[in-house]
Structures are given as C-alpha cells and as structure tokens.
C-alpha cells in the first residue's frame, strides 16, 4: 500500500531544515487564489459600504427631512442652551460623583466583610452568618428607591436624639446598605468559584484556614469578581441619582429643574452625556476584562 505516493520536493534535506524565514514566493495557484479572495473581499466590503451608506443615509435623511426634525432638534439638542445649563448639571453631578466615591468605598469594605462571614465555618459566627444571609436576601430583593425612602424619610421619623436627619447622609446610607448586599453576593460567589483543589493545595502546604483564605482564595476571587464589581460600580454611579427623591439635587434633578422651567429637554441630554463620559469607559474596561478571561478559559480548554 505504500507505493503511489509522491512528496514533491520531499524532506528537502538539501536545505537547512529549520530555515522557514527564507524567501518564500507564493505559487501561481496561491496568487490566483488571492486574486479570487481579494475580489470576494472587495465585493463584501462594497456590500458593507453600500449597505451602510444606504441604511445610515436613509436614516439620517428620514430624520432630518421629517416634519418633526426641527422640533426634535430644538427640543432635545439645543446646544447653546445645553452649554448654558451645563454648569448647574455638572454641579449636580458632583453629588453623584461624591456619593459614588464614598458609597463605593464603604460598600467594598462592608461587602467583603459580609461575604467573609457568609463563607466562614467558625461555629461562633453562626448567628452572624444567619443575619448576613437574611440581610443579603432582603436588600437584593427590595427596590433601592424603597430603601432610600424608608431610610431617608423613615429613620428621622423616629426622632431619635443624636441621630442625623441629613438626607444626604441617610440617602448615602441607604445606597450603601443596598449595594453592600449586591457586592457581598458577588464576592461570595467569587470565593466559591476558586477551585477546591486550590484550597487543598494550600492546606496540603500546611497553611491554616485563614492563611489559605488570605493568600490563596481571596486574591484569586478578587481577580474573578473584578468585572462584575465594575458592573456594580457602573450601576452605582447611575443609581446615586435616586436619592434625589429625598430632595438632594443630583445631575438628573438639576436637569429636571432646568427642563421644568424651559420645557426644553436638552438638559436631560446633557446629563445623559455626562453619565456616559463616566460609564462608557468603565463598561469598556469591564468588557475587555471579561473577554480576556474568556480567552484564557478557552485556551485552557483547548490545550
């Protein structure tokens, strides 16, 4: 059966066997193929370009020539007015930003603590585990708006002496309570996804339970939960605005005040742009991280 095979230039034992970088010239057939492929690619590019021109063009033309276009532009995109109100909206956004920073830091700490309590096995911590579980369940399930109303208006109603009634502080507190529950759950799931063999390896080396947690489990868990945590950060930035219901003026409220005076919706668009300036880079970073970890995972599976 071993006859009837030819191997062209064969093992080409004449040339140096590993000389790959040499002056390789595509063969005739390859050149012909390239021409064919190029034609096809050009055709596809043409289709893409035509289709883009057609669709986007039609869209633009339809929008711009539609009877409502001038109204639309004047109502939503009156840039001169937008620039005029920008300082006020930015001032409002300072509230969102400050809140995000303060709440974000507290949430990280509290979330970690709650996650550690929930994943601990120490008998003495049993009641705290129980409380932590209830806490997470409740605050993951109740709308933030409701928590803000309950904490922001409800706690001062108790008229407890010495307790603040500042809506800003209480509103922030409500946000922290709610987001800590979200983040605790994210971190906990991160801790649980660290492969059991990693714990076994650490314990086999003689590391204690808490050393294993500190040196092996947590660092890996954090790496894993960075994307969902970034997602939560984006959500936090956006949700800080909800405390406007307590009378705090954030970016959305500032825009609303302006709009209610002028009946022009450009301030909302400005507010949206400000949020996008912060959130798009964050979501992009999250997506990139997720894609990378995905690629690593796929590479492992194929190895």
């Amino acid at each position: 059966m071993s006859e009837n095979r030819g191997r062209g230039s064969g093992g080409n034992s004449g040339s140096a066997p590993y000389d790959f970088g040499g002056a390789w010239q595509p063969s005739e057939i390859e050149l012909a193929r390239r021409v064919a492929r190029k034609k096809r690619n050009q055709k596809n590019a043409l289709i893409a370009a035509l289709s883009s021109a057609l669709v986007l063009g039609t869209l633009i033309v339809v929008i711009v020539t539609s009877p409502g276009w001038v109204t639309l532009r004047n109502t939503f995109f009156k840039w001169a007015y937008g620039v005029e109100v920008l300082p006020k909206i930015l001032l409002g956004f300072a509230t969102n930003a400050t809140l995000t920073v303060i709440a974000g830091t507290s949430v990280a700490l509290i979330g970690l603590l709650v996650a550690l309590i929930r994943t601990s096995r120490t008998p003495a911590l049993t009641p705290f585990r129980f409380l932590a579980t209830i806490y997470v369940d409740v605050f993951r399930g109740v709308p933030l708006l409701l928590v803000i109303l309950l904490v922001g208006f409800g706690i001062p109603a108790l008229q407890i002496k010495g307790l603040t009634n500042s809506v800003l502080i209480l509103g922030t507190l409500a946000v922290i309570i709610t987001y800590s529950a979200y983040v605790a759950e994210v971190i906990r799931s991160g801790i649980l996804t660290v492969h059991p063999s990693q714990r076994a390896a650490a314990r086999s080396l003689g590391l204690s339970h808490s050393q294993t947690l500190r040196y092996v489990v947590l660092p890996q868990a954090f790496k894993r939960v960075t994307p969902p945590l970034l997602n939560d950060l984006v959500a936090l930035v956006k949700d800080t605005g909800l405390i406007s219901i307590l009378g705090v003026t954030d970016a959305v409220r500032a825009a609303q005040i302006q709009t209610s005076k002028s009946f022009n919706y450009t301030p909302y668009v400005m507010a949206a742009l400000i949020f996008l300036a912060v959130t798009i880079p964050l979501t992009r970073a999250t997506d990139r991280m997720l894609r990378k970890s995905l690629e690593r995972q796929n590479a492992q599976g194929q190895a």
Binding site: P156, A157, N165, V167, L246, G247, S260, S262
Partner: protein, 264 residues
C-alpha cells in the same frame, strides 16, 4: 352648524355645550388633579365628591358648560407631567397651576380662578420661627424646600436667592419638613394654612411673599396647547366669577386663609 361659529371672538355660548365641545371622550368632561390632592383644594383626596375649593370650582365649571355630575370623570397626573408640552390625558387640569408666560408657550390656561401669594410653612422652634423679613430668611441659614416645576421653587431661587431642596411633589416636601430635614417648605398660601394647621406638628406660617413673582397671574385651569376647549373654559370661569359662584366657593373653602404676615 356650530363649527363656523366657534372661531368667532365674541362669546356665543351656544358653542360651549357638551354636544359641541371636542372633549377627549364625547359627552364626558375629563378633569385632572394631583395624586394625592390636598386640602383645602380637595377634601379627603376625593375630588368626585365636589368638596374642597378646586373640586367645587371644577364642578361649577362643568355645570356652567352643561355637564351634570355624572358626566365628569377624574384622572390624576403629577404636577410636572401636566405642564410639560405634548398632548394631554385630560380636558383640563387644576392643581394650583400659576399662569406664567413660559408655561403659556407650551400649554393653554383659562382665566385665573384664584390668586394666591406663596408662603413659607415651618414649625415652632425652627430657624425660621420669628423671622419677619425676606433678608432675615436669607440670613437664618435655613434650608427651604419646594416641589419641582412649581412657582414656589422659583420663589426660593429667584426672589430669595437660596438653594432649594427639590422634591418630586409637595407630599415628599411635607415629609421632609415633618422630619425637620428642611426648615421650611414653600407652597401657595391656602396650602400653607392647611399644612401648618393640620399636617405639620407645631406648624407655623412664617409669612407670605407678596407679588413673589411679577409674572404670576394667579391659578388657571391648564389645558393642552391650542385646545379647542380653552375659550369655552375661560368663558365658564369668567361666568362663575361674574355670577358670584366663585366668590362663594372661595369663602366656603378658603375663608380661613386670611392674613398671614407679609415678609418684606
């Protein structure tokens, strides 16, 4: 037959009948108010009972236009939703809308049915307790609140030059005031009387702000921009004003809203 007459400037009452009026629902007059609607404007948040100043005015106008009680349908809107441009879900809306030129560009108003100053509601022992001048209010360092999109908000920002806590509606503002999270809430005078007397524990009216907004032309019924009903509704308001109905309704529901000190 009535269509060619509807354009005439002179008030021919024959066009303003339930048959001729282009209401949202034929033969039904859809009237909007707030949720919740407050005393003394609406009693018990039940406008369909006709009790309270605005509820009574609404029914008086309905009667004037030829609708009986049963042909009136009530709906609720938020304050700021109703004054935004665009089509409406009601024939007219009354919840203390001050007539201003800015608003007139996007909605229609009837002629005014009441004119009120703005007033500051507070509680005994607050930073505002005992303050008698506008300057005093500015100097007290008090935190004032108002509902979004209201004339009251303009008063705080323009007349007093202060930064306001802005709420979605008066109800939220009242909650904050009760919680002492703000020192004063700016509302129209009749509302202020009610809030200080009934809602806010140890409530006081610090004072009213006269001519707080030069452009303030009083409360009007709010209609969609270029509503076919505007002229008829205005005629009806004028009619109940002229025949004394409005005065008697006012004295019945807003009688106690008399003198509060005027802040200079």
């Amino acid at each position: 037959s009535s269509s060619d007459e509807s354009g005439t400037a002179s008030g021919d009452t024959t066009t303003c009948t339930p048959d001729a009026l282009q209401t949202l629902e034929a033969g039904v007059l859809t009237i909007a108010t707030g949720e919740p609607a407050y005393y003394p404007w609406v009693i018990d948040d039940a406008p369909e009972k006709g009790e309270g100043f605005e509820a009574a005015v609404a029914y008086a106008i309905a009667t004037e236009l030829g609708y009986d009680q049963a042909a009136v349908k009530w709906v609720r809107t938020t304050f700021d939703a109703a004054i935004a441009p665009g089509p409406k879900t009601f024939d007219f809306n009354l919840q203390q809308y001050s007539i201003t030129d800015e608003r007139k560009e996007v909605v229609d108003f009837s002629s005014p049915y009441y004119k009120s100053n703005q007033a500051i509601v507070s509680f005994k022992g607050s930073k505002l307790d005992g303050v008698t001048t506008l300057q005093g209010i500015t100097d007290s360092g008090a935190k004032l609140g108002a509902a979004v999109a209201t004339t009251s908000l303009d008063v705080i920002e323009s007349t007093l030059g202060l930064k306001a806590s802005v709420f979605n509606d008066n109800a939220a503002g009242v909650t904050a005031l009760k919680n002492k999270q703000i020192d004063g809430l700016v509302v129209d005078l009749p509302t202020a009387f009610y809030l200080s007397a009934v809602e806010v524990p140890n409530g006081i009216i610090v004072g009213q702000i006269e001519g707080s907004d030069a452009a303030d032309q009083g409360f009007g019924l709010l209609l969609a921009k270029e509503s076919p009903l505007t002229s008829c509704v205005t005629k009806a308001v004028d009619a109940i004003r002229d025949n004394g109905t409005l005065a008697s309704i006012t004295s019945k529901w807003l009688a106690d809203s008399a003198g509060a000190p005027v802040l200079k």
